[in-house]
């Protein structure tokens, strides 16, 4: 830990009016792009980086941190208000957020998402600030074999989301895994299921599939059922204070869900490559299984919203643990932050804390400031969005569809991604009609790719001999835990 003067100087650098202005601007942009399906904070950061050349390093990084953090909450806004998640990691927010909004309490639902997001985010930021170095060293010890075991554990927990029919859940999971095998195989790099399209060499675009299956499918469903006299897109709001705000008692009742979410998000965030979507689903599944009471899950339970949003937001701060601790980016957005460092001639790496202590503490200051701004800007933008969805459905849903097309076109690099999006939407509508849970398919698809790589790495490291697992006690414990969990959940069913 650097001397206290460095820490104070860093925080002092962060808390300037100029920096505050850029953080607010970043947060506002982040919330906006997060709310638009397909664009997302990563895309916005990549576009913004060249514009940060002329800023001082700390201002540039604060701005990017603002975009990233704004996006963490932004994705929840359309998920809650019109059941179309803006980012894949907000998909589980819609489970309870949308039913609550549809019962006339959109602001309550969105505010719960906002508070949980900021809570989870602040928790993981504090962990990052206090303990990044030791956690990073610990995470380093977890190699491909252990990561593979963590993912098996994640599958076991998420299996709790399968729904009423185990068979249909399994069908969904296998379809998702199958979809994730469309790409060059990680060993020999031979194309699989590419049907002659080079665009499929890197696999189906995650954003295009997620936006198609979640947002576009819902939009099509709503447009198809529309008709008759013009209807507002959202149910009319109940105009009482209790319906528009989250009381302290309600917030406090979700403390368990938020704590669990923050811990799951922080733990998965510290391990590179698993991602916020998996963390969100895992947290939702864990809370649903262990924390009953109140409204049933899926019908507007505040804990469901709190579990998801605290987890997906906690991933962001923790993603920086490997970056600041040992110099390795834990996610695409962490890699983008690195490139902003690098452009200003600051080498990320093991020496970052020693050589750039003041800047790092400036970054920490900016992160905390961004959390506060997220809360304030979130309140304002919520008001705007909840007013916007009072517009007729015949305006909102076609408009949202245009945003989906434009967003996916931008982020997946062309019309091919848009085609993937529409095909995914069609598949989603058919599967939903058959009662197959699309979110289970999606999460299997998201995890499948990373899981395959981890599995192939593990097989090579273990030399194909399960007996070598003995040298990996952590992996053995995780695998045993997965079995216990699976059995326990099967019994409770």
């Amino acid at each position: 830990m650097p001397p206290i003067e460095t820490i104070l100087a860093g925080f002092a650098d962060a808390f300037t009016v100029l920096n505050l202005a850029f953080v607010i601007m970043g947060v506002a942009i982040g919330q906006f792009v997060g709310a638009i399906p397909g664009i997302g904070p990563v895309m916005a950061m990549a576009i913004a980086i060249p514009f940060t050349f002329s800023l001082s390093p700390l201002v540039a990084i604060s701005f990017l941190v603002g975009i990233n953090k704004g996006g963490l909450f932004g994705g929840a806004i359309p998920a809650v208000l019109i059941n179309t998640p803006g980012t894949p990691d907000a998909a589980a927010t819609a489970f309870d957020g949308y039913p609550l909004a549809a019962s006339g309490k959109p602001r309550k639902a969105a505010k719960m998402a906002l508070y949980a997001s900021v809570t989870g985010d602040t928790f993981s930021d504090l962990v990052l600030i206090v303990a990044s170095a030791p956690i990073a060293v610990l995470a380093l010890k977890l190699g491909p074999v252990e990561i593979c075991a963590v993912m098996i554990l994640a599958f076991a927990v998420i299996a709790g989301l399968v729904g009423d029919s185990l068979l249909k859940g399994l069908v969904a999971a296998f379809l998702g895994l199958l979809m994730s095998t469309i790409r060059l195989d990680p060993e020999q790099f031979s194309p699989r299921f590419d049907f002659g399209y080079f665009q499929l060499y890197d696999g189906l675009d995650l954003v295009a599939v997620a936006v198609g299956m979640l947002a576009v499918a819902e939009i099509v469903r709503r447009i198809a059922t529309a008709g008759g006299p013009p209807m507002p897109a959202a149910t009319p709001q109940i105009d009482t204070r209790a319906a528009k705000t989250v009381s302290w008692a309600e917030y406090w009742s979700c403390r368990g869900a938020m704590a669990r979410g923050a811990l799951i998000g922080t733990a998965l965030g510290a391990l590179p490559g698993i991602g916020s979507t998996a963390a969100a689903f895992m947290s939702y599944a864990a809370t649903k299984r262990t924390d009953p009471g109140g409204v049933p899950y899926g019908q507007g339970n505040l804990k469901g919203i709190a579990a998801t949003e605290s987890a997906n937001s906690a991933v962001m701060g923790a993603n920086l643990i490997p970056l600041l601790g040992i110099g390795i980016p834990g996610s695409v957005s962490a890699a983008l932050l690195i490139s902003a460092f690098v452009i200003h001639g600051i080498q990320p790496g093991p020496l970052l804390f020693r050589t750039q202590g003041e800047l790092i503490y400036g970054l920490f200051g900016a992160m905390l400031m961004a959390n506060l701004c997220n809360l304030l800007v979130g309140h304002l933008s919520l008001r705007a969005w909840t007013t916007a969805v009072k517009a007729p459905a015949s305006l909102i849903f076609p408009g949202a569809l245009i945003f989906c097309i434009a967003g996916v076109y931008l982020s997946s690099g062309g019309l091919f991604g848009v085609a993937v999006m529409f095909i995914s939407a069609a598949v989603s509508l058919v599967l939903t009609g058959a009662g197959i849970p699309v979110v289970v398919l999606l999460i299997a698809f998201f995890l499948g790719r990373r899981f395959e790589t981890a599995l192939s790495q593990s097989l090579s490291i273990l030399n194909g001999d399960p007996k070598n697992l003995v040298q990996h006690p952590v992996a053995l414990i995780l695998l045993a835990l997965s079995v216990v969990l699976a059995v326990w959940m099967a019994r409770r069913r």
């Binding site: 990549a46 380093l140 491909p144 890699a335 690099g413 490291i461």
Partner: protein, 310 residues
């Protein structure tokens, strides 16, 4: 003398709009063959910004990820050669695809007019500093003595390189597939693999003494570590040279090719781009002109064919 003067003038007036008599009839689209945030993307955006400022052309950067640049070049191939469509990619994936599935690739080396190179990715084999070997021969011995070794890699040519070394030396180096350079560094530091290929992310750890160089994998020795012999020098006769380069659709008028090439060269000579490339890639920008780039592509294709034994 005239050329020297022109060169000096260009240096003195990097902001001069008239680097040549050609100018585009609208915005220039620079396609990037990879997604936002990667090394190619960072390089492309840096160069585009600098070219934009020195020429006044409106250059729009557009990510076209897929198949290591194959999707992008396929699309570029269909665009008109007006100078308004350029593509930036990396040689290796293109050459590998042209070698192993030429019938499926809808273009050849002749489908493009080459503008120039941007930089060479310097590839090395590295190991944790406490590994009981210091060079490729030592790694081979280690593998033989310990019933095999694990090597992290992230692209097909690296695998082929190891296959060649295994076949010629009798070593048993097993490859462990990595999704990025950063993941490889992490596995090295955590002690999960014996050694790994890396293209720059490892350099800060050489300075801290946590990692060490085992061999260079390019045709020439690494610029940052000139004492490290290459795999080719160690007697295996193979190398991997991934160049970042910019191309346009075939039939680009010569004045456009010259003008864009000059602007690219000026951008690479600028301090901003130089520093940024040194920071991100740990290497210097290397500009090869149109003819040289074309020759480099042909030599590269021949080398990849050797790697694949074709």
């Amino acid at each position: 003398m005239k050329r020297l003067l022109a060169g000096l003038a260009a240096l003195a007036l990097t902001a001069a709009p008239a680097l040549a008599d050609w100018s585009p009839k609208g915005p220039i689209n620079l396609y990037i063959g990879f997604g936002a945030g990667g090394e190619t993307d960072t390089l492309g955006r840096l160069v585009a910004e600098e070219m934009k400022q020195s020429t006044g052309w409106n250059i729009v950067v557009d990510n076209k990820p897929g198949g290591g640049g194959m999707a992008m070049f396929t699309q570029l191939n269909k665009m008109p050669p007006t100078g308004q469509f350029l593509g930036m990619g990396v040689t290796m994936p293109v050459l590998v695809n042209l070698t192993i599935r030429p019938d499926e690739v809808p273009f050849t080396l002749d489908s493009f007019t080459y503008i120039g190179t941007v930089a060479l990715a310097e590839l090395a084999i590295v190991a944790p500093a406490d590994a009981p070997f210091d060079d490729l021969a030592g790694l081979i011995e280690f593998s033989k003595a310990n019933g095999g070794a694990t090597i992290g890699f992230d692209a097909p040519p690296q695998k082929l390189l190891v296959d060649v070394v295994n076949a010629q030396s009798g070593a048993d180096m097993r490859l462990v597939s990595m999704e990025s350079s950063a993941e490889a560094v992490q596995n090295l530091l955590g002690g999960h693999v014996t050694a790994a290929f890396n293209a720059g992310s490892h350099i800060p750890y050489l300075e801290t003494g946590e990692l060490k160089m085992i061999a260079g994998a390019n045709e020439t020795r690494p610029s940052y570590s000139p004492d490290t012999p290459t795999v080719e020098e160690a007697g295996f006769g193979v190398y991997v040279d991934p160049w970042y380069y910019i191309a346009a659709p075939k039939g680009l008028p010569e004045e456009a090719q010259t003008a864009i090439g000059d602007a690219l060269k000026a951008a690479l000579d600028s301090d901003t781009v130089k520093t940024a490339i040194e920071n991100t890639m740990h290497t210097e920008p290397v500009f090869k002109g149109p003819a040289e780039t074309r020759a480099m592509m042909e030599a590269g294709l021949a080398n990849v064919k050797t790697l694949f034994g074709k």
